[in-house]
């Protein structure tokens, strides 16, 4: 079941990347390696939707401000840039923008690479097709839950689109273990009476562990009652690298990015 699910999820992201790949080849070397292409793509779309009216397509529509220069008067680090965008600049007429983590990662990546990025090359996946993959071919819902549908065994993805950067989600579909949050590492707990609990942690302290098991049951277990406590760094989710084509990956990523919670 997990394998089926994992296979399906991967398809969304690759599409975005696959489409962009050809045109991006020429400029990839100019991009800062810390900003995944998929983040830049996502940020470009956000820019087109929310920033272009004032700043213009070339980022120089406001006098004295040239976003393509890579230098910002009120921010030098990405954190400072994020703070500025979230706070806005009322004196200059810029409203605050309540961007979530994924959006901020995207817009930052785009602003940092605006000078070399060709927006004409951008094509994003289709969320509706991505949802079909999520629920169908990808088998994602066998482990993950979105809203009221799907399993609770794997992490809930209802707001994953506001939590993870596009780049992180893309990597997760290709190499799930590399992006697995430590709290989601699979655990195997064997009590002194021999009963076994397999699941993932919800919380842990010095003396106890809170777990949801592979039957969706909640356990709070005192460590002193355990004879075995094993933490795995290998995700049970398979890679979708070879099971979804680039278009399917892009669509799936488009769907995941649309999941912003309630």
């Amino acid at each position: 079941m997990k394998r089926v699910l994992a296979t399906a999820v991967l398809s969304v992201m690759a599409a975005v990347f696959g489409v962009r790949a050809a045109s991006a080849q020429a400029t990839a070397q100019l991009h800062d390696a810390q900003y995944p292409d998929v983040d830049i793509v996502y940020g470009a779309n956000l820019y087109a939707a929310r920033c272009v009216t004032c700043h213009g397509a070339q980022g120089d529509a406001i006098g004295g401000v040239n976003l393509r220069s890579g230098k910002f008067r009120n921010a030098s680090t990405d954190n400072e840039l994020a703070r500025f965008i979230r706070a806005g600049s009322p004196a200059a007429g810029m409203p605050p923008f309540a961007l979530d983590n994924a959006e901020m990662a995207g817009i930052t990546a785009y602003l940092r690479n605006m000078n070399t990025f060709d927006t004409a090359s951008v094509k994003t996946g289709d969320p509706a097709r991505g949802r079909a993959i999520f629920e169908g071919k990808g088998g994602c819902a066998a482990c993950h839950r979105v809203g009221r549908a799907g399993s609770r065994v794997a992490p809930n993805l209802s707001d994953i689109g506001s939590q993870r950067s596009p780049g992180s989600m893309q990597r997760s579909l290709v190499d799930p273990s590399s992006q697995m949050m430590p709290i989601n590492r699979p655990v195997r707990l064997v009590r002194k009476d021999g009963t076994v609990v397999n699941g993932r942690r919800l919380n842990e302290d010095t003396y106890s562990i809170q777990v949801i098991d592979d039957k969706e049951r909640l356990h709070s277990i005192v460590k002193a009652d355990l004879r075995e406590f094993t933490i795995s760094r290998t995700s049970p989710m398979p890679s979708y690298k070879d099971t979804l084509n680039s278009t399917e990956m892009a669509d799936l990523l488009g769907y995941l990015l649309s999941l912003k919670g309630q």
Binding site: S76, T77, A105, R164, S168, M181, P182, N203, Y207
Partner: protein, 567 residues
């Protein structure tokens, strides 16, 4: 309550003690107004029924001679009372207890006088700091100082206030520095003879730090020691001139906003008449290229003449600090260190090293890592670290919050061990960026990020839900041989800890952590003897005191004070 020499007689025989202390209980109201004299502060450790200073005594050992609660009976501790603040936010305060009254601070700058037997309130002094104050790192206050029947508190907006300990009425208020320029006071003052000493915070805003002494009766400034020496003063040469040509931004007047905060209360050696203080980070914290030189006296301990503020010696833990390692600990004084006959200041620094320095001269006696350290390799013969900066993008150990931080350590003369609340296996990746000073504006010059297991993922969180788990460090209590720095035992926690530590003459160690557990360990072995879940992070150091014949242990958890004793 049993006082002074009477205590010893009371403790001679259980029956006698019971009668003696019962009688004194009746007289409680009359002894509640005793004067806390300078001499009593010097001898604070000989009246363990009280807790007269932030760290328990001028020696700052957080060690108590009380021994009613023992490893054998600690499991029988019962909650006696709770005082809860109506103001949201975790406390960092340490209570003091003086002659039957407890004094604590609560956010933002209230002082509360309590009955330490019942937790009932005598009075509350409320102070509303300037709403335009600029304070780094939260509305924290760590407590008050007492002399005579006067309390002293530093405020978030950099005022020093004297308060009548019986009524809670304000006696005087002195502006120590300008809050809108980034100055603040968060630590408990230190009273020495007729002066009350405070230092200022604000290194993250480009202040020029100082420690100052004020007359206890009038609030008039008696002396001031700048932690950043000015032109012509010794140490100013460590703020080196900028190179004639540089590709990176360099500030020719870096010393003017060089930081050097005072975050924690100092200590005092009455025989030497020296007072010791830790000096915080340089400003800007991370952008070292724009402030060439060692940048004294940041990240240092300074020994000052208590009467004049004249500096006698210093030792810099982290020359030219680019990690915000500070020197943000209370100086712990140990007499006859390891039976060597040498009196030392012992120090577990945020930079991951444990140090011993001769108290009279500052001579470097010992420096040894107590957690993983890769920002330096070793020390030269004078104690200067050989620094090993990590390549860009690579993790530096310990991380930005340090191998330890402001959490008070403890030293037990009984075990000879030095106890540290530590963060282990914890690193940060530093990204310095140039920054120009603007008054009252953030002046950190970039920042660190955690060495996260999953780049691009949302930030990890700690208590009450610990999603950080084992991936990026954990907390521990580490016991070192105070003489050698060798680790004797370790008590691991899953989450990190910001708690101080208390030890007692019965070989007990009390501490907390972010998980909200309040724990008693065997100070000799680290064995867990008792624990209780108080529900919120413990962010200050426990204390102990005695009323009548009963020993109490008090700890802050969240915005509440919990007090335990044997039934």
């Amino acid at each position: 309550m049993c006082e002074g020499a009477k205590v010893q007689r009371c403790e001679g025989a259980k029956v006698l003690r019971r009668h003696c202390c019962a009688a004194l209980m009746v007289l409680l109201s009359s002894v509640a107004h005793a004067q806390v004299t300078p001499q009593r502060l010097v001898n604070a450790s000989t009246e363990p029924q009280n807790w007269l200073t932030y760290s328990g005594s001028y020696w700052s050992q957080r060690y108590s001679q009380l021994d009613q609660i023992t490893p054998a009976n600690v499991r029988n501790l019962k909650l006696q009372w709770v005082y809860q603040s109506p103001v949201a936010g975790n406390w960092q305060t340490t209570p003091i207890v003086a002659d039957g009254v407890m004094y604590i601070t609560q956010r933002p700058n209230d002082v509360v006088a309590l009955d330490p037997l019942t937790g009932r309130v005598f009075w509350i002094y409320r102070y509303n700091p300037n709403p335009n104050r600029i304070v780094c790192c939260g509305a924290n206050n760590r407590g008050v100082a007492i002399l005579g029947d006067t309390l002293f508190m530093g405020t978030l907006d950099a005022q020093l206030i004297a308060i009548d300990a019986r009524t809670g009425r304000e006696l005087w208020k002195t502006e120590v520095a300008t809050t809108t320029s980034g100055y603040s006071i968060t630590h408990a003052p230190l009273v020495i003879k007729d002066k009350v000493l405070v230092g200022v915070g604000g290194g993250e805003y480009g202040i020029r730090g100082f420690i100052a002494a004020y007359n206890v009766d009038t609030g008039k400034e008696a002396w001031r020691f700048y932690t950043i020496p000015g032109p012509g003063e010794k140490g100013h040469e460590t703020w080196e001139a900028c190179p004639p040509k540089s590709d990176t931004f360099c500030d020719p007047e870096a010393w003017k906003h060089g930081g050097g905060s005072i975050w924690m209360t100092g200590s005092y050696d009455p025989q030497l008449n020296l007072t010791y203080w830790g000096v915080g980070n340089v400003g800007p914290d991370y952008a070292g290229a724009q402030r060439p030189g060692d940048n004294l006296y940041t990240a240092s301990i300074v020994a000052l003449d208590a009467d004049t503020g004249t500096i006698r010696w210093h030792y810099q833990f982290t020359p030219h600090d680019v990690y915000d390692y500070d020197a943000v600990q209370v100086p712990v004084m140990i007499d006859n260190w390891g039976n060597t006959g040498i009196n030392v200041v012992a120090w577990a620094n945020r930079n991951g090293n444990y140090y011993a320095l001769e108290r009279a001269t500052g001579r470097f006696l010992l420096g040894k890592p107590f957690v993983k350290v890769n920002w330096m390799s070793d020390f030269d013969e004078r104690g200067r670290p050989n620094q090993t900066p990590q390549p860009p993008g690579m993790p530096t150990y310990p991380g930005n919050q340090g191998g330890t931080n402001w959490y008070s350590p403890s030293y037990s003369p009984r075990t000879g061990l030095f106890y540290i609340s530590a963060w282990e296996d914890y690193a940060s990746i530093y990204g310095p960026t140039p920054v120009e000073y603007k008054e009252g504006r953030n002046f950190t010059g970039g920042g660190p990020r955690n060495f996260a297991a999953v780049p691009g993922a949302p930030g990890f969180s700690r208590a009450p839900i610990n999603t950080w788990t084992e991936a990026a460090g954990h907390g521990a209590v580490i016991a070192l041989d105070a003489r050698t720095g060798q680790r004797q035992w370790k008590f691991d926690m899953t989450d990190v800890t910001d708690s101080g530590i208390l030890t007692t003459a019965s070989n007990l160690l009390f501490t907390g952590g972010r998980e909200g557990f309040f724990q008693a360990l065997d100070a000799r072995t680290g064995a867990l003897l008792w624990k209780t879940n108080l529900g919120a992070a413990i962010n200050s150091g426990p204390i102990t005191y005695r009323i009548g014949n009963k020993q109490y242990v008090a700890t802050v958890s969240g915005l509440s004070l919990f007090v335990f004793a044997l039934d």
